[in-house]
């Protein structure tokens, strides 16, 4: 590998090969420091490691830019140019300033090679030259050595730097060449901030080709109206030039559509030792270096973390046990050991990458360093090369013995629960899962059922039948036999099974319509408070007796549009918040399963999940004949997926940056400690960060997510994910490295939270304003040099932001007003969206629409076709064809849409029963039906977290179900909402105002 991959020849240095970096051992070798090279002291703000991409703001008024960035910062090469390119003036530089070592702010004697390196590169592999920064003069000098500036393409952006390139001196260019970072080994910094000239052709798009910048990627979007003779750094859409005309003049085909679903950001992995984006995604993996820059980034600045995301095959997080030696952490900031720390002093000390404190390496962990400063045993130590790692925590990390997995069921047995068949399905499902519940043989289990009274079940292992105890005094609740209500599953297995067998029949003749939910919850809490665990609530009616009694609300359409509107979406009774807080305190996580066909006040019930790290499953109008599969799958998933118990999560980050708000289902236990009584792989949490200092002096910001939890096996573990992101001084760079998925995820959480305190309308306009402001700021970056009239410009990385924004404002929690969605559904979906990981959220917002009739009719081998079938279509009515069959898949449900002209006899052979609303497609024996089932199964496998319930819609019939499709065709103009084209036109108009 060429060490200087980053600034290779492509990087605008035709003579690049002439300048070869010294052999890897160079760093230590005596550098001609004596040469009058300026050594910049502390890293100069004006000079930021920048990714090669982009070339925004440098101006070089004078001679045409022609200097090859001396990518190899060998000083020798400076004084005695070995460039094969045009002659270089020996740099005349002002007095040496200390070598900027990122780790050490203090200047070092110039002739002493700085100990090691940059935190980002603790262990470069041999071919990578490991080069201390300190040898590079980062300081801008007025008399830059005119180095041949080789790169060809005109640099249009050179003029008029719309934004100050860092806070550097006005003639940034002059200082020129030696931008140390681009020559680094392919490590984070190499792709740092904009190194305009260094890398010739702009590589504008953060999400461009996977190779960082090895190759020139020209950035025109396909829709770009015409090349203007140079490469543009942005994408654009041309809009009709007639302002105010009704026709936006926008070709709807050219609009960007996220048809590939979620694309994990590649820039995030620039930092090779970062954890996988599955676990953590930054909204932009470029941290602004100043508050003023951050304030120009109008989108959320933060991260979406999914600490337990399911690892793909072969990429499991390694589990390490340091035994009694303890886990190595920084003394001061408590950062865990990670790949970005650096070892010094012959391996006896290590420097924390977060706070730069020099720590001692424990005696038995010391290993010698090789010539590059890398530990010789690094390859054997996953904690030094992997971004995600799991430590087994010693006893210091426990406040009590690790708890056993505990599942407690609180089941409504009132008449509607029995009639709907919920009770039976639940009992069967629990029974069928008993073998797979994690944590054998320690698992504990218990049940309470309730209607207007509360029923406890003694399931002591010595009994043969469970003993039922009824407490009818719901005002003063007490727990009979507190010791035998929670039993060890493996010991009491028979009793539990016989209980589950008899449960449906026990209540089949009930006529009780009341629900003493609050008291029952309290009772469950009292039983569980010793241990904590997971509480699964099955609720079928509105709580009507005792504490936490709720009333019907939300029926009044007049409330919408007034200030009182938001109060419908928050819990009515403070009891729910208090219970949630108490449950979190005692490590009880609550999942709510709600089934009612009438209003059940999900807003209040959902609060229980919201603050305990749980989630809400909502099955409106549940009927076991129809929905049983969905409930079965989701309950089984809930019971059997790997769960982390009594967890706390904290995310640490480098100096100067601080996370200041968190969004998702959890409770904060201190300003930055997230309490999660039970958390699993399907949950994600979002957080926003802010700059604490007006100016960041570091060049990289590190993030470390640490989740301390008890695994089902009873081991206390710490899962640590580490990531790094460069600090940049250039707004364009932030846009280039933006991650639409993470941004949409954070924005949706913010918008949903906003609906809890203000009107839906406000939440939507908040969302729109965020998008408009960010695009306006982006436009300002380029407005000076480009003729932008009639064009809407946006960074390639955010090309889908408007479409997701539109989808979001049409999504269930935000859409319309009273009539557009049932209050319960709104709250339930809102609650779900607060927990969804990025990928699922994007799919939910912009569902995939695929055409399947050809696939169903063709008789070739099913597997080969599957790939062709999965071609997503734009979500507009034009994509639908009356002769076809389509499947709309939003991750939570399927809608099969059958066109009017689709031959009825074929439809019949699918064995679809249109009469029963949306019944299952029951697999009959014919080929088509089998294929359809196979396809659905395959689609379901792609996201096991939910069971996609299948709705069937025949075009023109069933207006209610037809709505499922229509409401998801988000690009169309439906009553009172914008279509995609109008939305874009509207955003464009707003962007142009005062622009």
């Amino acid at each position: 590998m060429r060490p200087f991959l980053s600034s290779g020849p492509v990087a605008g240095r035709p003579d690049g090969d002439g300048v070869r970096p010294p052999p890897p051992s160079a760093p230590g070798s005596a550098m001609p420091f004596a040469s009058p090279r300026p050594m910049a002291g502390p890293p100069v703000p004006g000079f930021r490691p920048s990714p090669v991409v982009g070339f925004t703001d440098q101006i070089r008024p004078g001679p045409p830019p022609s200097h090859a960035p001396p990518t190899s910062n060998n000083f020798q090469q400076f004084s005695a140019p070995q460039y094969s390119g045009p002659p270089t003036n020996p740099p005349i530089r002002t007095p040496p300033v200390g070598p900027p070592n990122m780790n050490m702010a203090s200047p070092m004697p110039p002739n002493m090679p700085p100990p090691i390196q940059r935190p980002g590169v603790p262990a470069p592999t041999p071919p990578l030259t490991f080069r201390p920064n300190s040898q590079v003069p980062p300081q801008p000098y007025a008399q830059a050595p005119p180095q041949p500036f080789a790169q060809g393409p005109p640099q249009p952006y050179a003029q008029g730097p719309p934004q100050p390139y860092a806070q550097g001196p006005p003639q940034p260019f002059a200082q020129g060449p030696p931008q140390p970072f681009n020559q680094g080994p392919p490590q984070p910094f190499a792709q740092g901030p904009p190194q305009p000239y260094a890398q010739g052709p702009p590589q504008p798009y953060a999400q461009g080709p996977p190779q960082p910048y090895g190759q020139p990627a020209y950035a025109q979007s396909p829709s770009q109206p015409g090349m203007q003779g140079f490469v543009e750094d942005f994408s654009s859409l041309s809009l009709g030039a007639v302002p105010g005309s009704m026709d936006p003049g926008l070709d709807s085909k050219a609009l960007p559509r996220p048809l590939e679903g979620d694309v994990e950001p590649t820039v995030f992995n620039d930092m090779t030792m970062n954890c996988s984006p599955k676990y953590m995604r930054l909204t932009t993996s470029a941290i602004p270096n100043s508050q003023s820059l951050a304030s120009r980034w109008h989108l959320p600045l933060g991260a979406v973390v999914s600490p337990l995301a399911e690892a793909s095959e072969g990429e499991e997080v390694p589990i390490l046990n340091f035994g009694s030696a303890g886990i190595i952490r920084c003394r001061r900031c408590r950062t865990y050991i990670n790949p970005y720390i650096t070892f010094t002093d012959g391996g006896r000390k290590w420097r924390c990458n977060m706070c730069a404190l020099l720590n001692d390496v424990p005696g038995d962990y010391v290993a010698p360093l090789d010539a590059t400063g890398r530990r010789i045993d690094a390859d054997q130590r996953p904690e030094l090369i992997r971004g995600s790692i799991e430590f087994v925590a010693p006893t210091e990390y426990m406040v009590r013995a690790p708890m056993p997995p505990l599942y407690f069921f609180l089941i409504d047995v009132s008449v509607s629960a029995v009639r709907s068949g919920m009770l039976e399905v639940v009992a069967q499902t629990i029974k069928s899962c008993l073998d797979e519940i994690p944590g054998y043989p320690r698992t504990q289990i218990g049940f309470i059922t309730f209607d207007s009274t509360i029923h406890f079940y003694n399931m002591k292992s010595t009994l043969t039948q469970p003993q039922m105890m009824v407490v009818s005094d719901v005002d003063d609740i007490f727990v009979p036999l507190p010791d035998d209500l929670l039993v060890n599953l493996s010991e009491s297995r028979n009793v539990v099974e016989s209980f589950l067998d008899s449960l449906p029949s026990m209540f089949q003749d009930t006529v009780n319509v009341e629900s003493a939910f609050g008291p029952a919850l309290k009772a469950a809490y009292m039983v569980m408070s010793q241990l904590g665990g997971k509480l699964l609530i099955f609720q079928n009616t509105l709580p009507s007796i005792g504490l936490g009694r709720l009333r019907l609300r939300g029926e009044d359409p007049r409330v919408y549009g007034t200030d009182k509107e938001a109060s419908l979406r928050v819990p009515e009774d403070p009891f729910y918040k208090q219970m949630a807080a108490e449950c979190t305190k005692y490590q009880i996580g609550i999942n709510v399963y709600a089934f009612s066909d009438k209003y059940t006040d999900i807003a209040s019930l959902g609060t229980l999940s919201k603050y305990t790290g749980g989630q809400v499953y909502y099955y409106p109008s549940f009927r076991s004949t129809i929905h049983a599969d969905k409930l079965r799958h989701e309950l089984a998933r809930d019971l059997t997926r790997e769960t982390a118990w009594e967890a706390v999560m904290r995310i640490r980050c480098g100096k100067g940056v601080k996370f200041n708000s968190y969004h998702g289902n959890f409770m904060l236990r201190s300003t930055d400690l997230i309490a999660l009584p039970a958390v699993d792989c399907d949950k994600a949490f979002a957080m926003q960060l802010g700059l604490e200092e007006t100016l960041l002096t570091t060049q990289t910001v590190y993030f470390q997510v640490a989740l301390l939890y008890t695994a089902s096996c009873g081991e206390r573990r710490i899962r640590v994910h580490t990531a790094a992101a460069p600090v940049v001084s250039d707004l364009g760079e932030m846009y280039r490295r933006a991650d639409t998925g993470a941004i949409v995820s954070v924005l949706s959480r913010l918008a949903i939270e906003k609906t809890l305190s203000s009107k839906l309308e406000d939440a939507r306009s908040y969302l729109q304003m965020k998008i408009v402001k960010s695009l306006k700021e982006y436009r300002n970056l380029y407005a000076v040099q480009h003729r932008l009239a009639g064009r809407m410009i946006y960074p390639e990385s955010l090309k889908y932001l408007p479409s997701y924004g539109l989808a979001l404002s049409k999504s269930m929690p935000l859409r319309g007003g009273h009539a557009d969605a049932l209050l319960d559904e709104r709250c339930a979906v809102g609650s779900t969206m607060m927990t969804l990981p990025v990928k699922s959220l994007l799919k939910f917002l912009y569902p995939s629409l695929i055409r399947v009739d050809e696939f169903l009719l063709k008789a070739s081998s099913p597997d080969a076709d599957l790939k062709n079938v999965e071609k997503r279509l734009p979500l507009t009515a034009e994509s639908l064809d009356a002769r076809g069959v389509f499947i709309l898949d939003d991750g939570l449900r399927f809608v099969i849409w059958i066109g009017r002209m689709f031959p009825p006899e074929l439809a019949a052979s699918l064995n679809i029963d249109f009469a029963s609303d949306l019944s299952q497609v029951n697999g009959s024996n014919n080929e088509m039906s089998r294929r359809l089932m196979g396809l659905l199964k395959k689609l379901r496998e792609s996201d096991p977290a939910y069971y996609q319930f299948c709705h069937l819609v025949r075009q023109g019939e069933q207006p209610k179900e037809g709505f499922y499709v229509l409401s998801n065709l988000i690009e169309d103009q439906t009553a009172g909402t914008n279509g995609y084209v109008d939305w874009i036109a509207q955003i464009h108009r707003q962007v142009q105002q005062n622009a």
Partner: protein
């Protein structure tokens, strides 16, 4: 005459109590921020003090109305109305689940209230006593301030 003095003492003492209650709440909030206290304790501590504070403040305000000190009544009225509003909306208690999100707002409100209570305090000390003391002296002058003064002089 003594009534005025007693009134003055009562209002001074209740004002000091109000200040103490409020400052304690503020300390709880900053402890929470600094992670010396967990949200459960903080919320419990603060919430247990809120109703006493509201009640005392209402009494403080009513006391001036009853005794006819309309200026002081008007000055203390806005805070009483604010409290009544919070109470009526059920927003007076600190919400343990959202305490971190509400922290800065809660602190700001309490700091403003602290400023107002301090204002009351100075009013009580300077203005209000001016009335009562002058009424004291008027009273005495009616009955011969010379006597008193002379007795002072004599001693």
């Amino acid at each position: 005459m003594h009534w005025d003095l007693i009134l003055w003492l009562i209002s001074l003492i209740s004002n000091i109590v109000l200040l103490v209650l409020l400052i304690y709440q503020l300390i709880c909030l900053s402890d929470l921020e600094a992670d010396y206290m967990n949200p459960y304790e903080t919320a419990a501590n603060i919430n247990s003090l809120i109703l006493p504070e509201f009640g005392l403040q209402a009494a403080f305000c009513a006391l001036f109305l009853v005794t006819g000190h309309f200026f002081m009544f008007l000055v203390t009225l806005p805070v009483a109305i604010y409290h009544a509003r919070l109470f009526a909306r059920g927003e007076h208690l600190v919400d343990v689940t959202e305490i971190f999100r509400a922290l800065s707002v809660e602190k700001k409100h309490r700091l403003i209230k602290l400023g107002l209570y301090l204002l009351f305090f100075f009013l009580v000390i300077f203005r209000f006593p001016a009335g009562s003391i002058s009424s004291l002296s008027i009273f005495s002058s009616k009955h011969g301030d010379l006597d008193i003064r002379s007795s002072f002089l004599e001693f």
